[in-house]
Symmetry: D2
Subunit: 337 residues, 4 copies
């Protein structure tokens, strides 16, 4: 931590901040520069330190040196983590593909979709049973019945089931049916829920909130890891920007950036990341080229009739074409798909 | 709803979309323009309609005409709502001031703060007992003990208690102690929690998520209203932008904009909205000038020692000066403070 | 400058960076922490240093300590600058009000507007003669004829003339007629133009670009100041964010933030900052409450017929009401309006 | 254009807006819905119409149906445009690669770079002679001497020269030496400059401003096309968002989106789009996968010593590796590189 003092900070203020640094269990080191004095606060402690120093009198700024997350950090665990959940393998060279409808709507729909995406090469089936919807008047999902249908789809196809859990009180129920518990973007900082999935033995797909920083994403992962569950996949699904021609802006540079700082695998969601079906195939291809460990793609037997997200869902043929393109690119970059 | 067809959409596609519109229970009206055909879909139905039409073949765009929220809308209820919770009155000409520390830290701290903010003119005390923290290693709040201390502060000062609830399973407990249940920005789209507070008889302070649109904020309010609780205050606490000199960007135009479209009262949070104590007094004054119904301000006996948010907390003297300034401006704009 | 080395940076890399720091004319100071080594680079030099160090091998990050601007900084000139241009005084306690139509459209229009805004209390007239328009098919301004009409309006009312200059080759011409040269948001980083206005003796109103950081704004001002022109007013006119209910997001915290770091006066533009006439009066009031040194407001005799920006222009009555409200607030905060 | 009236708009207001629509040369068509009346304004006119209607009394909103650009639109010219400038071909199946240093620094540097990038497969050399720099204290380029060195590099290698022009008065000079005139992001809305390059016979590389919408980008292109120059390449170089781990956020979905609405070719700049050399190779690969028509990449013989942008420049080996990766991906997607 570097405490930058104001230009006209006096000796008393500097001495006070040195004392504050030491009270926090850190060693201090004062550097008097041409225009500013700065105090280096040396030690391993990360918690609370920055906040505690920023409110000091005569302090202009506090610059952190260490990242605030630990367990998620590649410095702590240099080798890549591979998450395995039934038929799904993600990370460390394995590229997993999760595909299926936004919502589970009926037995016929989810079984048909499971067969189709498996045929095209997907390694897991997705489908929402508990749906967090912006409007209280929208379809909210089939709930437990949806979970049962997902399990039936797994029984028929062997595909691992990925489905969202929206509240800590549902974690037990959802974990009974799902192979991977998905934390939606809106719940990325629902810490009670993060702790609850951290206490299960199910893999977790943690979606980045649309305005969360990467640091906040890794700290959210840290809640899960810290609770004892090491099987966390990070999912980039787009951030909110001024752009309106796409629903969200999908920053693929997240993949090589995260690769450098964390050992956790990374999954790209080109469906939510663009919000338009016609943009999904090219962005899925780009995600493979940039080195993603996984893809999650919305696929529906008849997007026009979907109860949710039809505008960004591929039909079976479009998904198959997408997979073929991705496979060629995976080959070009040496990934296994 | 206006369905804009692509330039080269053919008659079959147009006929199909007309049929889709009518299947959704709306009347259709086709307009053939110089370069485009558009289909007006007429009726009161808002749910699901836009999504259902966007996925249609030959559709370029769907432009909504009606807002997706209803109960929160000023069109439905033209007169302003005033929320009353114990000593706190917000809206319809009454300007409420909620002040206090970010976290309840000790009996001495919260009682001292309650007396000080009351003295300066606040009409409610705030303090966090359940703290949602970005890092799992940060102070997480005193929980039930914190609630008891807040109740003690109310007993001593008569000030209404405003405190955050972070999970639906805690709503019963928090409602036992609090006059106002605060939904934090990170939980604005935690729908299970919104429904839970909607089922209580406590007033609710609903904070806008840092990347939520105004429409999403009103739809979140709609979850609470729809569950039967009419006492909702909307809180603008800043949005996430590219700016870094403030923690968030506080868009005060939210106040007159919301005033026009909703009857619900609006509270401004200049503490989170700026993230720096020295910016709070001027932004609080500006909020009063722009016509806010309420303020929520972080005040701590000794910000430098605060367990959270010290950098953006006012000390007692700063808060008193802020209140004096706000009072002069309230007078200038004819508000009651 | 603090050079943060990667966790596993080796001694050779550290020694190399120490040498680089010294080659740049700075003193180096190595601090070996628990997890990282950092090198403090001490000295007054700001130019190029950060960039030059960031590309070094083993460097994780470079944290600047000094701001990159100098002449604009309050550290260099602690007392506030007041800009005076004819009837307009802005800064150091004087609140100037610049009002008038977006474009000069006709003699009748600009003379009528000049009289009306003067009557209501404005201290300068604005009007565009050279109009930078997003579309090549939009009205581009009356050019020299517009300048002549502005000068006529000054002759009749005594109001100082504020008008935009869009290219360095026009600076001589525009300076012949105008009291204040406005640099539009789209030209904030048109450095040739900045230098050209810096070489005149006319005051300059420099508008912030919609995605410019405050540091970039001050560096743009530095181009003008550095060329020898000290009379620069900074104008906040809103930034581009994900919000769509306002055209731009107007962050009023810019005022107290800039006040702390620069001596230059600050002008708020609530017309472009909101993009809707009905939001302008309240935001103008808020700007006065937050401590602005000036306002620039679009006023048109008949906004519905305006050739540009009608949707955000006030009519005469609305402007008069706005001025009355602002005057009451100015009194409340002790400003002279 | 669809004019949406307010819920309580009266017949007089509706009749007035119908008259306004017809005054603008459009046909009107009134649709009375369940909650709103809307007026469809039918015709080909795009200029000024929206603005002119938005300021009307009783108008809630105006929804445009037609895009405001014409000549850039794929509706007007369905077949893809290929830009050819010397050795550089971009678009219609040809993938061009522009590479070289940010600034021309010396004869040795630029000749060395030209040979190296050609060897690796680049089809044009870039290098800045006129440098727009955020700070007036930074290196501003070698100006005419830089142009001469670029021409020498072309003479030696046969590579087309791409270089930036920053002011309309320089266009003649730069056009004498360059094959492609680059308009930098900061000048995207410098309309005088756009017109000036539109009046040359040189190809133009138009960079998107960091907060420009796609519509604004196409309208900027329209200025150039409208002046008579059809050889425009659009360049995505990243937008400004809240993300800080990359300098800008590079939204690759721009490529398939633009492909659908414009015939102009699209070039991706992964150097500015990420701001860190280590992110460039993967993002260049992703750009090829997503279907870009061109790449522009900063390459420097010794990035650590570069006078500008060293942190985001590749060295020769890194560039060669990047080209090999891109070539494999080009093959996988059927592009010619």
């Amino acid at each position: 931590m570097i405490v930058v003092m104001e230009k006209d900070a006096n000796d008393e203020q500097i001495a006070h901040m040195v004392q504050r640094v030491e009270e926090l269990g850190l060693k201090s080191h004062v550097i008097r520069g041409a225009e500013r004095t700065v105090i280096a606060a040396i030690g391993e402690k990360r918690e609370h330190t920055r906040e505690a120093l920023e409110a000091g009198s005569g302090v202009e700024n506090v610059l952190p040196i260490l990242a605030p997350y630990k367990v998620a950090s590649r410095e702590v665990k240099p080798e890549a983590t591979q998450v395995v959940a039934g038929s799904l393998k993600v990370g460390a060279g394995e590229l997993g593909v999760i595909a299926g409808p936004c919502s589970v709507e009926s037995e016929e729909q989810i079984l048909s979709a499971a067969h189709a995406v498996k045929q095209a090469g997907a390694t897991a089936i997705r489908g929402g049973a508990f749906k967090p919807r912006t409007s209280p008047y929208s379809f909210q999902g089939l709930k437990q019945q949806g979970l049962e249908l997902l399990a039936a789809a797994r029984d028929e196809t062997g595909l691992a089931v990925v489905t969202e859990v929206v509240a800590s009180e549902d974690v037990g129920l959802v974990a009974k049916y799902a192979d991977v518990l998905q934390i939606g973007a809106r719940n990325m900082q629902n810490y009670r829920l993060l702790e609850a999935v951290g206490n299960t033995d199910r893999a977790v797909l943690l979606k980045r909130g649309p305005s969360a920083t990467i640091e906040e994403l890794l700290l959210a992962a840290e809640y899960i890891l810290n609770a004892g569950n090491p099987n966390v996949m990070l999912c980039e699904r787009g951030v909110r920007t001024f752009e309106t021609h796409t629903r969200f802006t999908l920053p693929l540079a997240t993949v090589p950036y995260l690769r450098r700082i964390t050992h956790l695998p990374i999954v790209i969601d080109p469906s939510h990341g663009t919000g338009h079906a016609y943009l999904v195939p090219d962005m899925a291809a780009a995600a493979v080229a940039v080195g993603t460990d996984g893809l999650i793609i919305e696929v529906h037997p008849d997007p026009e009739k979907a109860l949710s997200d039809g505008y960004q869902s591929l039909n079976y043929q479009q998904f198959e074409d997408t997979m073929q393109k991705c496979r060629r690119i995976a080959q070009a970059v040496g990934a296994s798909l």
